[in-house]
């Protein structure tokens, strides 16, 4: 009886395999996969970090000058947010574009909801947020940002992250606001929006602490950060490090820092200083400045190894050939390395034994050992920028 039942089933599954073009020998998980943005040509590489190899190149993603990526909950699909407003869903297993739409004129980044069903994009042009279904990329909600005082356009939206409770968080660059966009009411597509005004001048990026509690927006127009405690949003937005750098003449900022990837290590938070060759250390109990670390250039990404024992930092032009490693316990630079001109992004392997570094002007992605701080392997890539591994699928705020 069993045998008779099995045969048609087997035949059916064989047909399915040959139809999709994937052979049985290629059956595999996605937990060790990732994507690398090839900035100039609008391509994406699918990579695998178990064997440090490139599996495929997916082409035709438009303008990826500034691109970011989130992953579906099953870690099979990568959603790529492109500068030209493109939103592209890539199938990492079939190694091709599953769906692509142009959702806006100029976008900066996006997020996936905690239940994996919604994709939200923050747009510069037209300024606002658009929300789509994750499976088919159909529009769920279109939320315009606050109109500027002169009535010409809406504020640009930055710092989009997901937050616990089926929420998205954004900051409004031109009007100095933080919004909580809450989709927890499953009976409607209309989100409930909570707006915080006068949070500070020109929030340029933001991030959520890894446990999902504090949303922090970096301010470009003034010193300090705006912080919202999501356990107590009723307490409002607080200013952190407000007096930082008072009386000092900041240097020109040739590249906006990013706040993604910062962390709380040993009760301290490490963040890039704006217009200064420094990483700031903040005590995460009092939220006061606990120190500053002198660096070789102006930091762009300040990223903690998953065990938080090291902080890796890259820099704005003209110092973007360097990477410095900070010991999170002593808050001292323990090594300066020179991967080459145009270091744009870094990504740790899920448990942090390796870091992948994109070196744009060498057309290389370098893989370094974080214990010995030695260069191990090199992969070729055209003008590589962002590197994103699928373990992000299961992390709040990424």
């Amino acid at each position: 009886m069993k045998k008779i039942f099995l045969t048609p089933l087997l035949a059916l599954s064989l047909t399915a395999c040959s139809l999709s073009g994937v052979q049985e020998s290629e059956l595999r998980g996605t937990g060790d996969l990732g994507v690398i943005i090839e900035r100039a040509d609008g391509n994406v590489l699918i990579v695998e970090h178990s064997n440090n190899q490139i599996l495929a190149r997916v082409e035709g993603l438009g303008d990826l000058s500034h691109a970011s990526v989130v992953f579906s909950r099953d870690a099979r699909y990568a959603y790529v947010f492109g500068r030209d407003g493109g939103l592209t869903k890539i199938d990492l297993l079939k190694q091709r574009i599953d769906k692509r739409i142009i959702q806006g004129g100029n976008s900066i980044g996006g997020a996936i909801s905690e239940d994996g069903r919604l994709i939200a994009v923050g747009n510069y042009e037209p300024g606002g947020v658009k929300v789509f279904t994750a499976d088919t990329l159909e529009l769920v909600a279109d939320i315009p940002a606050t109109t500027l005082a002169d009535g010409t356009k809406n504020s640009r939206v930055v710092g989009m992250t997901d937050a616990p409770g089926q929420k998205f968080m954004v900051s409004l660059f031109d009007t100095g606001e933080i919004w909580i966009i809450d989709f927890s009411d499953k009976t409607t597509n209309e989100p409930q929006i909570t707006k915080f005004f006068d949070i500070g001048k020109q929030p340029y990026d933001s991030m959520l602490t890894p446990e999902g509690r504090y949303y922090m927006a970096g301010l470009f127009g003034e010193d300090g950060l705006a912080m919202l405690d999501l356990w107590h949003p009723e307490k409002g937005v607080k200013r952190v490090l407000g007096g930082y750098g008072k009386g000092e003449q900041p240097m020109p900022v040739y590249k906006m820092p990013h706040l993604e990837g910062w962390t709380v290590a040993d009760d301290r938070v490490f963040v890039p200083a704006i217009g200064r060759k420094e990483v700031l250390v903040i005590d995460n109990k009092s939220w006061e400045q606990a120190g500053r670390i002198e660096m070789i250039g102006q930091p762009v990404f300040v990223m903690a190894r998953p065990d938080a024992r090291q902080i890796w930092v890259n820099f704005a032009v003209p110092d973007n050939q360097y990477v410095q490693v900070i010991d999170s316990e002593t808050a001292e630079v323990i090594k300066t390395i020179e991967p080459g001109p145009g270091v744009l992004h870094m990504e740790f392997s899920p448990r942090g034994e390796q870091i992948w570094i994109s070196v744009r002007d060498r057309n290389e992605v370098q893989i370094w050992d974080t214990a010995t701080l030695e260069h191990l392997y090199t992969l070729e890539a055209d003008s590589p920028s962002g590197i994103f591994f699928t373990n992000r699928a299961h992390r709040i705020g990424l």
Binding site: S65, I108, V253, Y254, K255, M256, V317, P318, D319, G342
Partner: protein, 112 residues
């Protein structure tokens, strides 16, 4: 190492440029420097203005967008920045002459 060498050299070039008549300076950007400048324009200006100069945090800089704007003020924006905005002064990395060369390139249109 190279970083530390550049500064005195730049100073030397700047000093020398005072003794060169203005009309000669327009042709002063060497081929190697032109390649560096174009790279800087696409990659570093491109981080805010887009690799295709269609805008981002900074405004679009296509020939159409720049049409009708006085060239002097465009050059000044590059050299001195725009206080109160995210546009930094580039005078630590570029000479005025090089800024002018970049503006000419933008006015012609540039692609990655």
């Amino acid at each position: 190492m190279s970083m530390f060498n550049k500064r005195p050299l730049r100073r030397l070039v700047l000093m020398a440029s005072f003794f060169v008549p203005v009309w000669l300076q327009a042709a002063e950007v060497s081929d190697t420097r032109q390649a560096e400048l174009k790279h800087l324009l696409i990659q570093d200006c491109g981080s805010c203005h887009g690799l295709r100069m269609k805008g981002g945090l900074g405004p679009a800089l296509t020939p159409q967008d720049l049409a009708g704007k006085p060239k002097d003020s465009l050059v000044a924006t590059v050299v001195y920045g725009r206080p109160g905005t995210a546009m930094p002064p580039w005078d630590a990395l570029l000479t005025e002459n090089e800024a002018e060369w970049l503006i000419d390139l933008l006015l012609q249109g540039v692609a990655p």
